[in-house]
């Protein structure tokens, strides 16, 4: 378990860095962090699908201008940890319900951490200017590294906390709650889809949404039972 916790912490640190501070390869998305965390904990399907669920909520949360969206990296991690840590008796939908709620909460905590680190990094420009004013080298490479390390440290600490809480909380979810959590899992998918559609807010988007739903209904198993 300690090994899993450390691996999850590592994932948290790297993903938090990837969000905005470095690379931005989208490895920080809940779909990816959830899949990785679920795989680490031996439940790749739960991790992948709870990440896919969370994506619906934050597909249109944009880092526009100075706005900082919720921390989707930490959310995916927390969601997958809770989803994977539930007792064996819990089915997939109960895992999605529990993980989804954990992820939504963790996203907002992580978003505040992100804002705090950005405020902390504001001093870096001043340090470069002060060096120039003193006739010294600005040391830009070192300052970029300092900023990155601060993000990584914050992400690692956040990952440590989220993974720790998730690993502690998951096994303690009582069995009587599983049915309600299963219902919640389906509800969150519906709510997530509505958030996406609500943010798009156009008649054309509604038409496309309906078309996609018809295709999705038509391609699934059991859609046309008379075909066998």
């Amino acid at each position: 378990m300690i090994q899993d916790w450390l691996l999850l912490t590592l994932v948290g640190g790297v993903a938090f860095l990837d969000r905005t501070a470095a690379v931005q390869s989208m490895a920080s998305r809940p779909l990816v962090t959830g899949a990785v965390a679920g795989w680490i904990l031996g439940r790749p399907d739960a991790g992948l699908l709870v990440g896919a669920l969370l994506e619906l909520f934050w597909l249109y949360e944009l880092p526009v201008g100075a706005a900082v969206p919720p921390d989707e990296a930490g959310a995916g991690l927390a969601a997958a940890v809770v989803a994977a840590s539930l007792p064996d008796a819990a089915d997939l939908w109960a895992r999605l319900g529990a993980g989804g709620m954990a992820g939504l909460a963790a996203g907002h905590v992580g978003g505040r951490v992100d804002v705090a680190v950005r405020r902390w990094n504001r001093d870096l420009v001043g340090r470069a200017r002060a060096a120039l004013a003193a006739g010294e080298e600005p040391g830009l490479g070192r300052l970029v590294l300092v900023g990155g390390v601060r993000f990584w440290a914050a992400g690692t600490t956040l990952g440590l906390a989220l993974a720790g809480v998730g690993l502690w909380l998951g096994p303690r979810v009582p069995a009587p709650a599983f049915r309600g959590l299963g219902l919640l899992g389906v509800t969150l998918v519906v709510l997530g889809a509505s958030v996406c559609l609500g943010r798009l807010a156009s008649r054309r988007a509604k038409g496309c949404f309906l078309a996609g739903a018809m295709v999705g209904a038509g391609v699934g198993k059991g859609a046309w039972p008379w075909r066998g």
């Binding site: 931005q24 390869s25 989208m26 998305r29 779909l31 990816v32 992948l48 699908l49 896919a52 909520f57 597909l59 944009l62 526009v64 319900g97 989804g100 907002h108 950005r118 420009v125 470069a128 200017r129 120039l132 600005p138 830009l140 490479g141 300052l143 970029v144 009587p176 709650a177 049915r179 309600g180 959590l181 219902l183 919640l184 899992g185 509800t187 998918v189 519906v190 709510l191 889809a193 509505s194 996406c196 559609l197 609500g198 798009l200 807010a201 054309r204 988007a205 496309c208 949404f209 309906l210 996609g212 739903a213 018809m214 295709v215 999705g216 209904a217 391609v219 699934g220 059991g222 859609a223």
Partner: protein, 219 residues
């Protein structure tokens, strides 16, 4: 916000152009000023600025160019990459995940990573070749029209995800499956209208979560 990073990226070029002393210091100073734009299109500005520095453009002209372009680059990049390409690719990956493809996240990272790297590389080179005229080149790409088509695709894929997930959850077949999925789609569209009018999704999740847990205990 991105000023240290902007100056850091320019540093090798600035050292090659200005060598040492006051001209180099002044170049660092002007590129440590406020700068914030979309990370993938920032390379267009970087390339053009390198070209302008090489050609000895006045500092004020470079400053005006950066200030003039960072807003539009931000808007175009946000519309196309963050509100268009990313949601479409994420929704496609989520749909694949619900249909059982465990490789979906990696396909998404590969696809978006390729798009991001290619954009940065292409616009860096174009910015350098065109200089300030890169602004016209950016306008000709038609980012906004392409973004709209990607948003349509994302909306369709979201509908597909909903239907696939609900179908899987309920395991119903035939007419019952279509009825359940139809009901979910209808509820989703009603809630979407609520979101559009200001409903906070997190609070809706808490309220629905409480209701679900209560229903689960009682049922």
């Amino acid at each position: 916000m991105q000023s240290v990073g902007f100056a850091f990226v320019l540093e090798p070029a600035l050292r090659r152009i200005h060598h040492t002393g006051a001209p180099l210091r002044q170049a660092f100073e002007r590129h440590l000023e406020f700068f914030n734009t979309h990370p993938f299109l920032a390379s267009a500005v970087i390339g053009a600025v390198v070209r302008m520095e090489e050609e000895g453009a006045p500092a004020e002209e470079i400053r005006r160019f950066k200030n003039a372009l960072m807003g539009p680059c931000g808007a175009l990049g946000d519309s196309f990459f963050w509100a268009g390409a990313k949601p479409a690719l994420v929704a496609a990956a989520a749909a694949l995940a619900w249909l059982g493809a465990g490789w979906a996240p990696w396909a998404f990272v590969a696809a978006f990573g390729t798009l991001g790297l290619a954009s940065r590389a292409v616009w860096l080179v174009r910015g350098y070749r065109l200089g300030p005229a890169v602004a016209e080149a950016l306008a000709r790409v038609g980012f906004l029209g392409k973004a709209q088509r990607l948003k349509d695709a994302a909306a369709a894929l979201t509908g597909l995800v909903l239907a696939a997930a609900v179908g899987r959850a309920l395991g119903a077949e035939g007419a019952a499956r279509w009825l359940w999925i139809g009901g979910a789609v209808l509820v989703s569209m009603v809630l979407a209208e609520g979101v559009r009018r200001g409903l906070r999704p997190e609070w809706a999740a808490v309220a629905l979560g409480t209701a679900c847990l209560g229903l689960g205990m009682w049922w």
